[in-house]
């Protein structure tokens, strides 16, 4: 079930955020990383696909024409996980994951409970099931948020900077989990991410947006070149693709220095 996007426009108030974003596609079983500078419209693009921001254009997921569906209908087949998972809600981990399921389907309690149980187990959240959300660390909360996503069995899962609040261990753990999830369930995963080394290592495909426009997309080794990085981020960078080690993007300097 491939995700394709064409002629997507989105404005927030009078400000136009996305300009005719076209030619994007993401395949099932793969991780697509969405990269681009701050304020380039990454979050807006993901929210527009989810129906959280109003947009015009064509968004298809397999046979489904998402742009013709309401927010509620889209939420049946896709899920958007925002960057900030902090909450002050007085809910236990189990209640929070069950809630996600209940907002999606009406089903017998036993079915819902066993779905929640499976989601918690797959993210090793069993020992935390009764803990309240506010007592969790950032990494634990992120795992709960992912459990809230997978309990809905989405065909398309979008994550907005899922690793930005995590330490190195948890960054690798979460991305590794997502990649195996994509492969195993055959779902489309799109994640917005700033860390190009993580993107190069875990993504099968990259989308690059800048100033609300689709600049380029392709395999990481096609996209992450010093020339492109200069265009996209206005930086000098060194890129290595060793055969027996993960790719390395080494930023050297910004082309524009503050105060010059």
């Amino acid at each position: 079930m491939t995700l394709t996007i064409d002629h997507l426009d989105c404005s927030l108030g009078k400000r136009r955020i996305l300009h005719d974003v076209s030619g994007l596609s993401a395949s099932p079983g793969e991780i697509t990383a969405l990269i681009g500078p701050n304020g380039s419209g990454k979050s807006t693009l993901l929210k527009a696909i989810a129906g959280i921001e109003a947009a015009s254009g064509r968004i298809r997921l397999g046979e489904r024409q998402l742009d013709a569906l309401s927010l509620e209908q889209r939420s049946q087949c896709l899920y958007y996980l925002l960057q900030d998972t902090s909450t002050q809600a007085a809910l236990s981990v189990f209640e929070a994951v069950l809630l996600s399921r209940r907002t999606q389907v009406a089903e017998p309690a036993a079915t819902a409970l066993s779905a929640v149980e499976r989601a918690l187990t797959s993210l090793e959240l069993d020992p935390l099931a009764e803990r309240e959300l506010v007592t969790l660390s950032g990494g634990q909360r992120q795992r709960v948020a992912i459990a809230q996503a997978i309990v809905r069995k989405p065909k398309l899962l979008m994550l907005d900077e899922p690793t930005s609040a995590l330490d190195l261990h948890h960054q690798l753990q979460v991305l590794d989990y997502l990649r195996r999830l994509a492969r195993r369930e055959g779902i489309v995963i799109v994640l917005a991410i700033h860390d190009l080394n993580l993107a190069a290592r875990f993504a099968d495909h990259l989308w690059v947006v800048k100033e609300g426009r689709h600049i380029v997309s392709g395999m990481p080794e096609q996209v992450l070149t010093p020339e492109r990085l200069r265009d996209i981020y206005a930086i000098e960078a060194h890129v290595e693709w060793p055969i027996d080690a993960p790719p390395r993007v080494i930023p050297l300097s910004a082309l524009h220095r503050l105060g010059d």
Binding site: G51, R74, Q88, A89, L91, V116, Q173, Y177
Partner: protein, 359 residues
């Protein structure tokens, strides 16, 4: 994958669902206990008052009115029971309205008072008391009640409508509520300034809150507001709980947050307007009732909603008893006492709880 601890599928012997069901049973037991406490409080409330009737006699009057004296029957059925039930219905209404306002506006301080709904109702009452002016073509005590209700609804609808102009941001709604509170307080101040000493006293008495004008008719109307709004809250229970995860996450779960917020705020408006119109401005219950419920059972609306209703009902019912017994022979205004009875319990819960939510 050297640095990565792989998350794997390992089954735990004790199932999380079993533990969740145990938690749910604990929550339901607490709700049942609260319901029992409300019932006991109701009976004690009916048994308390001038004219020392023993509890067994009062209970007999409740179950078999024909077997007790005509006077006792009238005291119980016409005077005390409507008042005692009104305490429970109004307490529940205020607490439910407060609980949902706090949820909808993501603000621990939201309640009918902080959003200006009570101020609007007070101004409506002042119009009737000071100027003898009615917004509805009715007379007598209904003039005051009608005014208070209409203005409370007006205040809520104003927040609702003004917020629509700039998108439905919760900060906008709270700011509008505070602006409306100041606006009506100013209007009320003008009326108080020009009022005669007698109407000023009457206004003061009304604003302190009182249950003793309760009648079966008013009780029916107050109960009706609760009966109309509760099913709406119950239907939206999962969506309301999801709002606590933040607007964007709720939207990602497929919830039309703007529409939900507007619809549910109308229900809150109806509840608080009715409560304030019938018994005057009774503070604290709408604010603290939900916080106590949250501390006891958490914020899953399946348990939070009934627990809030019961906590509010219990606070006001106990207050009603206290208002009759604190100084024998004198009926104290109930609005004065809600804080006195609720505060010690609330503070002890906060101190005992190590939770870090805004409870």
């Amino acid at each position: 994958m050297k640095a990565t601890t792989r998350l794997s599928h390992t089954a735990k012997p004790e199932s999380t669902a079993v533990r969740y069901l145990a938690r749910q049973r604990r929550q339901r037991r607490l709700i049942a206990l609260a319901a029992l406490a409300v019932l006991i409080s109701l009976l004690v409330d009916v048994a308390t008052g001038p004219g020392a009737y023993a509890l067994p006699d009062v209970l007999k009057a409740l179950v078999a009115p024909s077997e007790v004296s005509r006077i006792l029957e009238i005291v119980v059925w016409e005077i005390r029971l409507p008042v005692a039930l009104m305490a429970i219905i109004v307490g529940a209404s205020l607490a439910v309205a407060g609980a949902e306002m706090q949820t909808l506006l993501d603000n621990p301080l939201a309640d009918p008072f902080t959003l200006g709904i009570s101020s609007a109702a007070s101004f409506g009452a002042a119009l009737a008391i000071v100027l003898d002016f009615g917004l509805l073509p009715v007379a007598g005590t209904l003039l005051l009640t009608g005014n208070a209700f209409l203005l409370a609804m007006f205040a809520s609808l104003a927040i609702w409508a003004l917020s629509r102009l700039r998108g439905v941001s919760i900060q906008t709604m709270v700011l509008m509520g505070i602006a409306i509170m100041f606006f009506f307080n100013a209007l009320l101040g003008i009326l108080q300034y020009v009022a005669s000493a007698e109407s000023l006293q009457q206004l003061m008495f009304w604003s302190l809150g009182s249950l003793d004008k309760a009648s079966w008719g008013k009780l029916g109307l107050a109960g009706l507001a609760l009966m109309i709004t509760m099913p709406a809250f119950i239907r939206a229970r999962s969506q309301l709980t999801a709002l606590r995860l933040g607007d964007v996450q709720a939207k990602a779960m497929g919830i039309d947050v703007g529409r939900l917020r507007l619809r549910m705020l109308l229900c809150c408006a109806l509840l608080s307007a009715t409560a304030v119109a019938f018994v005057g401005t009774i503070g604290f219950v709408g604010l603290v009732g939900p916080h106590i419920a949250r501390l006891l059972v958490g914020e899953d609306q399946r348990v939070f909603l009934p627990m809030s209703a019961l906590t509010g009902a219990l606070i006001l019912s106990l207050t009603s008893i206290l208002s009759k017994t604190l100084i024998p022979g004198i009926l104290l205004p109930i609005g004065l006492l809600t804080a006195l009875i609720g505060l010690p319990f609330f503070v002890s819960l906060i101190l005992r709880s190590r939770r870090e939510t805004w409870r």
